[in-house]
């Protein structure tokens, strides 16, 4: 079954490993009396593949350290993948140089987690916003640049006359709006948002989310939204990717995922959402800790904590398989039908 329309972003079999072993002298050690070089790696992403379709908001959820942000940073080219590819509108972008990447920079932008660190403290916000516009539109004159900046500032609800001020004169929510304005200033079609609201006050989170939704409608944007906040996912996402320890467990539309979660990890995750109901489903308590990504477990990365794990789970890495309702789940138990609904 081939999709008729081309996905905007394709992530194919992505691996991202970070070397921990340091330089030559740190790595040198003796093994049975002979010198050897030791290698130690953090397996941040292990074979992640998914597509982002045009116009959707794809949310990536998972607990801390599961590789969500690494996926975002790899997609944006801030990190080179160890293996695998990233394609944007059909073109491979993960191996491009800074210069060749430039045309894509205008089409894909990023919003960062910490609004207190993502704006340059020594630049007035108008300078921060003008710089990318001027850089990506060298043929524009000052008036056009200024008009563009006024337009994006107004669209995120920041008065353009405040442009003469420095970032420290704004609140966290206002700064996050300015970050969004910076991303929108180059008219992108695709925005990666790396936990854009997790550093904000709850009352401000809704404002920023609504702003992003409005911008999506007005500018026809596609979002890759990284978050750990499941209520935000329910509200915001059209499709959801659930990640655990650098792998995708389940990929489904938001509605399917919240109604009928399939992967044992997704079930446990969803049961942890606090709800104001008397008739709550039983909270699934997982045993143990998340294994360290330095020494990945063999087979399914979740097998150590999964109540349904058997011998096959410990040996074979499960692949994402399409289910009847259109969701994709990576679980041997689901495939074999041995997990009760």
């Amino acid at each position: 079954m081939k999709p008729v329309t081309q996905p905007l972003l394709e992530i194919k079999n992505l691996y991202q490993h970070f070397d921990l072993s340091g330089d030559f002298l740190d790595r040198l050690h003796f093994k049975n009396g002979r010198p050897a070089l030791k290698e130690e790696k953090v397996h941040a992403i292990n074979g992640v593949s998914f597509n982002v379709e045009k116009g959707e908001s794809l949310c990536v959820v998972g607990e801390s350290g599961c590789g969500k942000s690494t996926v975002a940073r790899t997609v944006m080219g801030l990190l080179k993948p160890t293996q695998g590819e990233v394609r944007f509108a059909g073109e491979r972008i993960d191996d491009l140089s800074v210069k060749d990447m430039r045309p894509y920079r205008k089409r894909m932008q990023m919003i960062f987690q910490n609004p207190y660190a993502s704006l340059n403290p020594r630049m007035r916000i108008r300078e921060t916003l003008e710089e990318p516009v001027r850089f990506h539109n060298p043929e524009w004159n000052e008036q056009q640049i200024s008009d563009k900046v006024d337009e994006v500032m107004a669209s995120v609800g920041i008065d353009p006359t405040w442009g003469v001020r420095y970032p420290h004169e704004f609140s966290g929510g206002q700064r996050q709006r300015i970050s969004i304005a910076r991303a929108l200033a180059v008219d992108p079609e695709f925005i990666v948002a790396d936990e854009p609201i997790s550093a904000l006050d709850v009352s401000i989170q809704a404002q920023v989310l609504n702003l992003m939704t409005e911008a999506q409608k007005a500018r026809n944007l596609t979002y890759l939204f990284i978050t750990h906040d499941l209520s935000v996912v329910e509200h915001f996402a059209s499709r959801v990717v659930v990640m655990y320890l650098g792998t995708v467990c389940e990929l489904a539309t938001s509605k399917t995922l919240f109604q009928t979660p399939k992967h044992p990890y997704t079930r446990a995750l969803l049961s942890a959402i606090p709800k104001l109901e008397t008739k709550k489903p039983e909270f699934i308590r997982l045993t143990g800790e998340v294994p360290t990504p330095v020494n990945l477990p063999s087979g399914c990365v979740f097998h150590g904590r999964c109540p349904y794990a058997n011998a096959r789970c410990m040996e074979e890495i499960p692949k994402l398989t399409l289910q009847n309702d259109g969701s994709q789940v990576a679980c041997h138990g689901i495939e074999e039908g041995r997990i009760p609904d």
Binding site: D23, N120, F135
Partner: protein, 322 residues
């Protein structure tokens, strides 16, 4: 009516960004300066030194470089307040019969020029290499910082002495005297760049992890633009602090070199060479030729160090090693 004018006033208070001077008066720099007596006195003395250096041709009663105005018969006249002193020479004269006050003014000027220019050179080399090392990381970083370590393992004085002595021996002292100013600036400037490179690199490593740098990379900016336009302005406070101390150090280095006969020639004395030239006469009773320029030098250096201390307290760069 009053309502309208009120709203206008509010709008203005939002719109008009305070001017730089107003901002400075509101900032904690000014508050801390107002409280700190030592900083105020040091700053005043430092400004006096700078003014004296800038306007030395106007302030000095005679031109110590003009051989025609010097009379060898005037040599070693004590300061005017002592019994044998003359009113013509306030601080007395040196062994060549030059007015000591004028010579100190011109010498301060030379010492400050050498100090400031050498530090500018240090800062330029150190900032470029330190930024590159910190931003590029990996092998480039290791290479540059190992070079800095090697450079630091020779003392500045040793490098300067060897270099200047070899130059003097190879090209003769006549050429050396003509180029002395430039040579001193070059030697002191090149020998001390690792101080800057280390400080800058440490701050760059801290800044590089912040998200605004990622944001700039995501915008597709080149590394030169990110380094100099985005990271450098955020690493300026430690640079400012070490600059004051480094100027003082450079002046001391120059004075030491001059004292050893490797600095400024006797015909154009800096504070250091003036001290050195008076040293021969200190036991024959002509103490003022050494002591008075010595006091001037010590005051200048002390004042700059105190200012540096104050700046470090105010800007609080944790990375600077005292």
């Amino acid at each position: 009516m009053s309502h309208a004018s009120e709203s206008v006033a509010i709008a203005q208070s939002v719109d008009a960004a305070p001017s730089r001077w107003e901002k400075f008066k509101e900032s904690h720099y000014w508050h801390s300066f107002k409280k700190d007596r030592v900083a105020q006195i040091s700053f005043t003395v430092f400004v006096l030194f700078v003014l004296a250096a800038l306007f030395s041709p106007l302030l000095a009663p005679t031109d110590p470089y003009d051989l025609a105005s010097i009379d060898i018969m005037d040599s070693e006249i004590p300061p005017s307040w002592s019994e044998e002193g003359e009113d013509r020479f306030w601080l007395g004269t040196d062994a060549q019969g030059r007015d000591l006050w004028s010579t100190i003014l011109y010498g301060t000027r030379l010492s400050l020029i050498i100090g400031v220019c050498a530090v500018l050179l240090q800062a330029f080399i150190g900032i470029v290499l330190g930024l590159t090392a910190g931003y590029a990381g990996g092998r480039v970083d290791s290479f540059i910082m190992r070079c800095a370590d090697i450079q630091l393992s020779f003392s500045t004085m040793m490098v300067a002495i060897i270099f200047l002595a070899v130059f003097q021996a190879a090209f003769g002292s006549e050429l050396y005297q003509r180029l002395a100013l430039i040579m001193l600036i070059m030697v002191i400037g090149i020998a001390e760049w690792p101080q800057y490179a280390r400080t800058i690199r440490a701050s760059v490593l801290a800044e590089k992890k912040k998200e605004y740098v990622d944001a700039a990379r995501v915008m597709g900016f080149g590394s030169g633009r990110i380094m100099f336009r985005h990271i450098l302005p955020n690493t300026l406070s430690p640079i400012l602090v070490i600059s004051t101390v480094q100027v003082a150090n450079a002046i001391i280095t120059e004075a030491s070199l001059s004292f050893l006969g490797l600095g400024m020639p006797v015909s154009q004395p800096s504070l250091g060479s003036l001290i050195a030239s008076g040293f021969e006469f200190i036991f024959s009773g002509s103490w003022w030729i050494t002591v008075i320029p010595g006091i001037a030098l010590i005051t200048l250096v002390l004042v700059m160090n105190l200012l540096g201390d104050w700046l470090r307290d105010v800007l609080n760069p944790k990375l600077y090693k005292g």
